[in-house]
């Protein structure tokens, strides 16, 4: 490999080599693919409810939880670490609710505070562990930017199970989630417990963000929750179709990230997944039949030509 030419380019140049993919990678890819689907589905509900960035706060807080779980148990199994991450994420979201209710601080500032302070705690914990020479602590850094190459089959199974459960919950409660997202005032007046439904949604987002940590890392997992739904919205005007498409786009992005990460273990998965999703978004914005920029320009030109 010549110095100065990035690894990615070299991978693409030696394309035929990656058709002989080890079975382990396939299983891991399946697990992460499930994460991509679920992130797209849950993310759609969050984006519709205008809570797109609640996941950001959850993700940053999760780092501290992962570090604390490692500190408390000394174990590095994925379920333990992710469990710690989930608890920390839920705690951070709880703090966010309290800040909104009891202080003058506005929503956007409160989210930024919770996000950055909890992430700082996480960084301080991980750095402290590393500097004390605690064995295995360096592995926690992989939760920052994602590193699927280190996942085992059992890990992938866990991710797939949680993702499947989240999707089932989303589909079962779709009517309630849509109602609350569209017109919370009417929902409240009709007797629906809007706050409780909101907490469930935000909890689902937290869960998705946690299982997305190994795939995309704490810093970029929000992208997995936000970009596919926005892309899907360009293709349809119905909520169920939007969820389906978002799932598919998330799937494609996640699979791309895993594949590229398996080929070049030095590259973190997170950025690759995000860039894949962003490309699909750009395509959607440009080419979607009703809302896409190119079809609209074409229609305008045809109309003008027709009128002339």
């Amino acid at each position: 490999m010549m110095s100065g030419i990035p690894d990615v380019v070299c991978c693409v140049a030696t394309a035929p080599a990656w058709l002989a993919v080890p079975p382990n990678t396939v299983v891991v890819a399946a697990g992460v693919a499930a994460v991509g689907v679920a992130a797209g589905v849950i993310g759609s509900l969050a984006v519709l409810r205008k809570r797109a960035l609640a996941g950001d706060a959850a993700a940053h807080a999760a780092l501290a939880g992962v570090a604390l779980a490692f500190l408390a148990t000394g174990r590095r199994d994925l379920p333990v670490l992710l469990g710690g991450g989930l608890l920390a994420a839920l705690a951070a979201l709880g703090v966010l609710v309290l800040l909104r209710r009891y202080t003058r601080t506005r929503d956007d500032a409160a989210t930024a505070i919770v996000l950055s302070v909890s992430f700082g705690c996480g960084i301080a914990l991980v750095a402290g562990l590393t500097s004390r020479g605690v064995p295995d602590a360096a592995g926690l850094e992989h939760f920052l930017l994602g590193h699927t190459a280190a996942l085992t089959v059992a890990d992938a199974a866990l991710l797939a199970t949680v993702s499947a459960a989240a999707v089932v919950v989303a589909v079962v409660g779709l009517k309630e989630a849509t109602l609350v997202a569209f017109d919370p005032g009417f929902a409240a007046a009709s007797g629906w417990p809007v706050a409780a439904i909101d907490y469930c949604l935000v909890g689902l987002v937290a869960a998705m963000v946690i299982v997305g940590l190994p795939a995309a890392g704490a810093v970029l997992v929000t992208a997995l929750v936000v970009i596919p739904p926005v892309a899907a919205r360009q293709w349809t005007d119905r909520v169920p179709t939007m969820l389906l498409l978002a799932g598919l786009i998330g799937l494609a992005a996640a699979v791309f990230g895993v594949a590229a990460s398996a080929l070049v273990p030095r590259l973190a998965t997170g950025p690759l997944v995000v860039l894949a999703a962003a490309t699909l978004l750009a395509v959607s914005l440009l080419a979607a039949p009703e809302r896409g920029l190119l079809p609209r320009a074409w229609r305008r030109r045809s109309a003008r030509r027709g009128a002339a």
Partner: protein, 448 residues
């Protein structure tokens, strides 16, 4: 990552001997290095606090978050093109990238295809991902590693020095001073414009202020502050420096220029304290600075003079206590009033709380033990007069101006009697006309 290079400190050289000696005396060997690092961090934090004040007030904390992430690809490209980290090319690239980010977010929202928070989320995560990819792909050619981006390398700042007027000064410190001074100057010069635009963009535009230019200026300032903070705390925690001190300051004061000064000061303090804590605990300085900032905010939430939760709780208790005391005094007053007509005994406090109230009233000289039970003293009667007067005046007003039947007058008056001041009472009396009796026919005591 984040390893505190305690063992690697080398003697500093010729940097200001007096300060050096002071630092070494206070902080031990290598104190000069620590002093430089702390000074750099404090300057950067002050600059961020200043800019952050305007971001928070304009509800643009999210934009600050977005810019701090999105400038990364700009910085990487500038470094690849030969710029020095912290040098003018990088600074310019960062500003350009920041403005491009804001423009792109606006364009995306304007297409109507997505909400504002979604478009911001899309743009900055994509740009950050691109930046990280560039860094990892070209890692061999540039000196940035992903860890550095995420949490900074404040601990290594003192080691990279340049010669300035015969002294060895860390490059990071120079950049931080330049940016801080520049931003402070810009703030002073454009303060009125920024404040006007922050509070009422439409009125500002109508008054001829170039609102878009002012906002672009704020974005550029954010980008500069971000780049200066990169070395100190990395990309993610720049948000902490921008938003948290400003939010803390917002809880402590309502005046904007005081808020800016406080934010800068809080940021500087947090930087120094966080650094010292990280040194003591052998962990990342960036992380500990964020933790200290969080603790400052939490302290303000609880103990801010006007809005602090603890203060509010105490105030509510005090109000409840005052209401209980006044209700009790009014009960004594009414018992006295009816005693002339029939022998109705003074209500005896049966609950524990009632007994406390009685004890307090006795201790403050408003009731006294007399023949046949407790009596109001002159002072107590004066206060009770006020309460009953408020109650009956309000009943008169309600009876005259609202379509309320007479049995609905008592509950609202029970509540409002504790909140009427003398001037409001005078206004009510002016409206209902001076009268001696309320709608139930009971006498209204005169103003004491």
């Amino acid at each position: 990552m984040g390893r505190f290079p305690l063992a690697q400190l080398a003697p500093m050289g010729d940097a200001g001997e007096g300060v050096q000696h002071l630092a070494e005396r206070l902080l031990g060997p290598g104190g000069g290095m620590h002093a430089w690092a702390m000074a750099t961090a404090a300057l950067v934090a002050a600059a961020c606090g200043l800019v952050g004040t305007l971001l928070v007030v304009r509800r643009m904390s999210l934009v600050g978050d977005a810019i701090s992430h999105a400038v990364l690809p700009g910085i990487v490209v500038a470094v690849l093109a030969g710029g020095r980290p912290g040098g003018p090319l990088v600074l310019a690239a960062a500003v350009a990238t920041a403005l491009a980010t804001v423009w792109l977010t606006e364009r995306l929202t304007a297409t109507g295809r997505m909400a504002e928070d979604a478009s911001a989320g899309v743009v900055f995560t994509t740009m950050f991902a691109g930046g990280v990819l560039l860094v990892t792909a070209f890692a061999s050619r540039i000196d940035l590693d992903p860890g550095c981006i995420l949490h900074g390398v404040l601990e290594l700042v003192p080691f990279d020095t340049v010669a300035v007027a015969g002294h060895e000064v860390p490059r990071g410190f120079l950049t931080a001073s330049a940016v801080c001074a520049g931003l402070a100057l810009a703030a002073v010069v454009t303060w009125k414009l920024q404040v006007f635009t922050a509070f009422d963009p439409e009125a500002a535009a109508a008054a001829g202020i170039p609102v878009r230019g002012v906002t672009a200026g704020l974005m550029a300032a954010t980008a500069l502050a971000t780049v200066a903070s990169f070395e100190v705390v990395g990309a993610i925690l720049v948000v902490a420096l921008l938003v948290v001190p400003a939010a803390t300051a917002e809880l402590l004061t309502h005046r904007l220029h005081r808020m800016a000064v406080l934010a800068a000061g809080l940021g500087g303090c947090a930087a120094v304290l966080g650094y010292l804590a990280a040194w003591r605990l052998a962990t990342s300085a960036a992380g500990m600075i964020a933790v200290v900032l969080g603790l400052q905010y939490a302290a303000a939430v609880c103990f801010a003079p006007e809005d602090g939760l603890v203060i509010r709780g105490l105030r509510r208790l005090a109000l409840a206590w005052r209401v209980a005391c006044e209700d009790r005094l009014a009960a004594y007053w009414r018992a006295e009033e009816t005693r002339d007509r029939c022998t109705r005994p003074v209500p005896v406090a049966t609950t524990g709380a009632g007994r406390f109230v009685d004890a307090w009233l006795a201790a403050t000289g408003r009731i006294a033990r007399g023949p046949g039970g407790r009596l109001l003293t002159a002072r107590g009667r004066e206060q009770a007069d006020t309460v009953v007067r408020s109650h009956r005046l309000w009943e008169s007003w309600l009876g005259r101006h609202a379509e309320l039947p007479s049995d609905h007058l008592h509950p609202p008056a029970e509540w409002i009697e504790h909140h009427l001041g003398a001037d409001v009472r005078r206004r009510i009396e002016a409206e209902v006309g001076a009268r001696a009796r309320d709608p139930h026919g009971r006498p209204i005591p005169p103003e004491p």
